[in-house]
Symmetry: C2
Subunit: 240 residues, 2 copies
């Protein structure tokens, strides 16, 4: 959104991938501080809470524009507002869960989603015996209703909580129904077409990372645990 007509090109600079991952953590910490009644915070203090250096924090927050006040720090509410906007947290996210097994049910009942602005409005399950049961205040719907409900409820994100074997198929159905992004809990890589978001969480991978850290002794340590697959275009790089 700069330099309309001709000239050196609009050029919205891309957010560094590792920074993008950290943005969520800033938002989480800042919201928490805001609730505690704090009004400002310095890059040093924030870094301490998050295990980052102050320089790193300043570089990351520079993504939000120049919100810091030299000598004073950052105004938390401004930062929260800016982060929410950048991360797409200012819009409405309407979510459905596919799979009403242990994980699906736990997610539907996970109150924090709603409090954070992600509203789960439908649950589906392929098992006809389960359809009609109630989970977290919602009636489980049969898969056949998927596309109708996604449209009617204006659902834009889908959560896949089905067995490995069914995961890709379910993801395809969700995309076909119109969701724009998928959060996958099945232990496999999901391929989606360009333009559809995909993030995966694999509990076993997380435990394995932990075993690795623990076995390796004390040294190496790393970051994020859940992974975001690549939008499967041609020769997409990135991870599963």
């Amino acid at each position: 959104m700069r330099n309309p007509y001709y000239g050196p090109v609009p050029e919205k600079k891309p957010i560094p991938r590792p920074a993008a991952r950290r943005l969520s953590l800033y938002l989480r910490e800042l919201s928490s501080r805001l609730e505690q009644g704090e009004a400002t915070v310095s890059s040093k203090a924030l870094g301490r809470s998050l295990g980052l250096t102050d320089a790193q924090v300043r570089k990351d927050l520079a993504i939000c524009g120049q919100l810091g006040h030299p000598g004073r720090g950052y105004t938390i509410s401004d930062l929260v507002g800016s982060l929410r906007k950048i991360m797409g947290r200012d819009r409405d996210w309407r979510v459905c869960v596919v799979g009403s097994g242990n994980i699906g049910r736990a997610l539907v009942s996970y109150d924090r989603f709603r409090r954070e602005g992600f509203e789960i409005v439908a649950v589906f399950d392929a098992n006809p015996a389960v359809a009609g049961q109630e989970v977290g205040g919602l009636r489980v719907q049969p898969m056949r209703d998927l596309s109708t409900t996604v449209a009617a409820e204006r659902i834009n994100l889908g959560i896949v909580a089905v067995p490995r074997e069914a995961a890709q198929q379910v993801a395809d159905a969700l995309v076909a129904a119109g969701v724009r992004g998928i959060l996958n809990f099945a232990p496999r890589r999901i391929e989606v077409r360009e333009g559809i978001g995909i993030v995966s969480v694999d509990f076993t991978v997380a435990l394995e990372q932990l075993a690795f850290q623990t076995a390796t002794g004390l040294d190496l340590s790393f970051e994020d645990g859940d992974h975001a697959d690549e939008p499967t275009d041609g020769d997409a790089p990135t991870s599963v």
Copy 2:
């Protein structure tokens, strides 16, 4: 802790952090192929499944030693064996879950853990009303039994599935009881002393990453979803 005496030192080179994250994904994909009855695989084919370039795959697998056969590819079973060893998957992991809410119960019942060699042998809950109930074949124990049971059952990993407010305290209790690593599902950073492993999974952060990807349109995509906090030593860098 570096180079005690003088001399060239054995020098086991450290595994690049991003590579460490990918190792789990290789193992997952390779195990699956092994089950399908495949015996060998090329870096190119593996990369295709995982969304990585063939060069990346070769560099990563070089960590396991020289297991590839030029012109032929890698023998999957060798790779799986080597990966399991490197990742500490060759030993026994005995796990307890603290918190028998929705998430805790889902995890206790998550069969894949056992099949992958992580045995959940105890569940704890601070609520006395819950103690004694059965969850996934285990009797929920009161917190007061934590250290006794951890010792008696030789538990080495703990899963924290309690509300945010109690998380740090529970983590401290687990470490005091003797676990060597913690998998944290509470939405906050957990601090542990040097030498204790820590990996966090935050569902809201994962959904947020998805919202970000989706809102940002089609472009940037990233990796892992769950995060591993840093072992809180002095000025530890890394993320939450």
